[in-house]
Point group: C2
Chain length 404, copies 2
């Protein structure tokens, strides 16, 4: 029998009715003759409530205790789901991350999975049982509970699929799959039947919220096919898999966008070796994620350095950068918080001329000014004014004929 | 250094303020130079909320899953308490029942502790840490979570105290200790400085809600001194310990009462061997707890059989008993739901004449009719009308000079 690993997010198990609905979907997969392992997130707002509880006791909760506290959210939902399946007459059992053999390092709140020991799951599957696993959590060598941080439950699911040699990992969420662009911006956007790991990674990193890149990376590393689909409908989702069998090559497959972009420019930076490190190391230490970095050509050994951060981190980033700019003899620091970005994503972009030109002219026709450009092998991203993002996505969707 | 095991009940950790207050008490015990292990119950109504959640999914929750679900309540409170202590600058760590080495059988919802493996706790204490243990839970050989049922957290505390060779087990609750009678009924009731295990067991079984008899039994078995005191004040509580050193012997120490008593009489039971089993085995199978049983002297091989149950179980008990009475050729089944009981408790009662007589005359002087009488070595109990209980407790408290 094939092993299928499914994952259901917090909005899919938000209340008793939804939990029963998910139980039916799991039962249907079992009825098809599969061995089923389902990974589940905490119900709806549970995690937020637990976070609030911790902060009602102290402003600085111990990370170790915080992880144990948060892990109870997924344990609650996993037991309820197992109960619902048993009430339907199916043999089901819930397992914590520790019981499911999710071994992690001891980096609390952002632990990395170091291995999967699936003995207990295999034992339960051999008894004919459906196994429900509490997502987002693991256990250290010391048997202390950890949580995996952002994208945690998706990562649990893919790791278990790999560890169990599953046929497929199915991620059920509140969208129907991966689209050629955000359907809320582009009504004619089409759902993709399939997409390569790399393209999905670029999409996930560049604004599409369907799936966390961390879980996609893990899938790519072990070549585990991942199906992203809705937990509320029965329409087929999008299959994320290796590129070899892809129908579509050398083509833009989708448009990503992100409205959470702020920009900082350090003007008049003396252009000497090590100057970038002087600026970016303190930002990294302050836990500020830098996205795009652009450095202009140097004129008389003086250059401008521009980088983008999330809007919520702009103030903190400016506080870190200003004194550094002063200490290295640079000029002013200027910021702009009203930016967004649009990206075209597709395989073989670097080998096929004309993609960039077509993107820039589509934006120019709409009167949209490009502030920064960054590219990868399968992506071209333009930073533009926030208010132009919606028009830009529509224009690009049309320019690359994605509605067809 | 002496090891002290403390236990805090659900009302003592009902919110963030109360948790911080408990943290201060634990810190004070640590500051006195003790190694401190604190067992904690779930916050206030948490357990009720989790039960409700389970029943929102199914009318018949799986016992195994139910236990895992309920166990999260104590995990939440234990992490919050550890956070509060760390915020105060104390090294503290929370452990689940499994991590604390509470090994149980697999009787879900009412598991019995089969052993304590305190290695992890000892390791943490050796690091100078305060250890907070989630009460009410344990783990099977298979590493599945169980809950201990009624009196669970008290039992966890006493078991850990025994396993760790603690100097004392302190049970902090919402009363100040064990009284000569319920202070709400008898304002002049006095707090006892100490009481023997056996007397405490009778008190616990006969209406005083201070502590579950199960934990007292465990304390007696291993001769572990137990101090019951308030978590809200600093007044000394009541020390429950072995009788050898007791100051008070051959004396009534306290009056217990219980308003939750209903009576069933099966009239005209044919008096032949095995007839009691025929009636009581089906009641046991229906999970109905029988308290007092009285059988009248047989006249012409016909007898009346009377027993008491909790009021909430009366209807179910009648449903079980009525068809049995018919099948064995007995007469009617009559019930009375408006009863209560009063007990006098003290050591050496059976060796000293006059206790029973003094009790009966005190009740008679108040015009209180005695419906049933049951006795043990250190207790005499009378079942009386519900409305007479308050007067009875007062009269007995005076008759045995407990206010002095």
């Amino acid at each position: 029998m094939a092993i299928v690993v499914q994952k259901y997010g917090g909005s899919s198990v938000g209340n008793a009715e939804k939990i029963k609905n998910v139980a039916k979907r799991i039962a249907a997969a079992k009825d098809k003759g599969n061995e089923v392992v389902a990974v589940v997130s905490a119900m709806g707002d549970t995690t937020d409530e637990l976070v609030e509880l911790a902060y009602s006791v102290t402003d600085l909760p111990s990370e170790r205790e915080f992880d144990v506290l948060l892990s109870t959210g997924e344990i609650v939902s996993s037991t309820l789901l197992a109960m619902a399946l048993r009430a339907m007459g199916y043999e089901a059992i819930s397992l914590s991350g520790a019981q499911a053999g999710i071994r992690t390092d001891a980096a609390y709140s952002r632990a990395r999975i170091v291995g999967v020991d699936p003995e207990r799951i295999v034992k339960e599957l051999d008894k004919g049982r459906i196994v429900i696993v509490a997502g987002f959590q693991g256990v250290t060598e010391e048997m202390d509970t950890t949580t995996l941080g952002r994208g945690g439950s998706d990562t649990t699911a893919v790791a278990l699929a790999v560890g169990l040699g599953a046929e497929i990992c199915q991620i059920y969420t509140d969208v129907e799959g991966v689209y050629t662009a955000d359907p809320r911006l582009v009504p004619e956007a089409k759902k993709l039947a399939e997409i390569g790991y790399e393209e999905m990674l670029e999409l996930a990193s560049y604004g599409a919220k369907v799936m966390h890149p961390r879980a996609v990376e893990l899938g790519e590393l072990f070549n585990m096919p991942i199906m992203v689909a809705s937990s509320f409908t029965d329409s087929p989702g999008t299959l994320i898999h290796g590129g070899e069998a892809m129908e579509v090559r050398n083509k833009v497959t989708s448009i990503a966008h992100d409205l959470d972009v702020a920009k900082i420019t350090v003007v008049g930076v003396p252009d000497r070796p090590g100057i970038a490190a002087t600026i970016f190391e303190p930002l990294a230490k302050a836990n500020i994620s830098i996205d795009t970095i652009v450095q202009n050509a140097s004129i008389k050994n003086i250059t401008d350095l521009t980088f983008t951060v999330a809007k919520s981190q702009l103030r903190k980033a400016m506080e870190v950068v200003k004194p550094i700019a002063q200490s290295i003899g640079a000029g002013d620091c200027v910021s702009d918080a009203k930016l967004g970005k649009v990206s075209i994503i597709g395989t073989g972009m670097q080998n096929t001329p004309g993609f960039a030109a077509r993107m820039f002219s589509a934006l120019s026709e709409k009167g949209i000014n490009i502030q920064l450009i960054s590219t990868s092998e399968i992506r071209i991203t333009c930073i533009i004014d926030e208010e132009g993002v919606k028009d830009a996505v529509k224009a690009l969707h049309r320019a690359f004929e994605l509605e067809e």
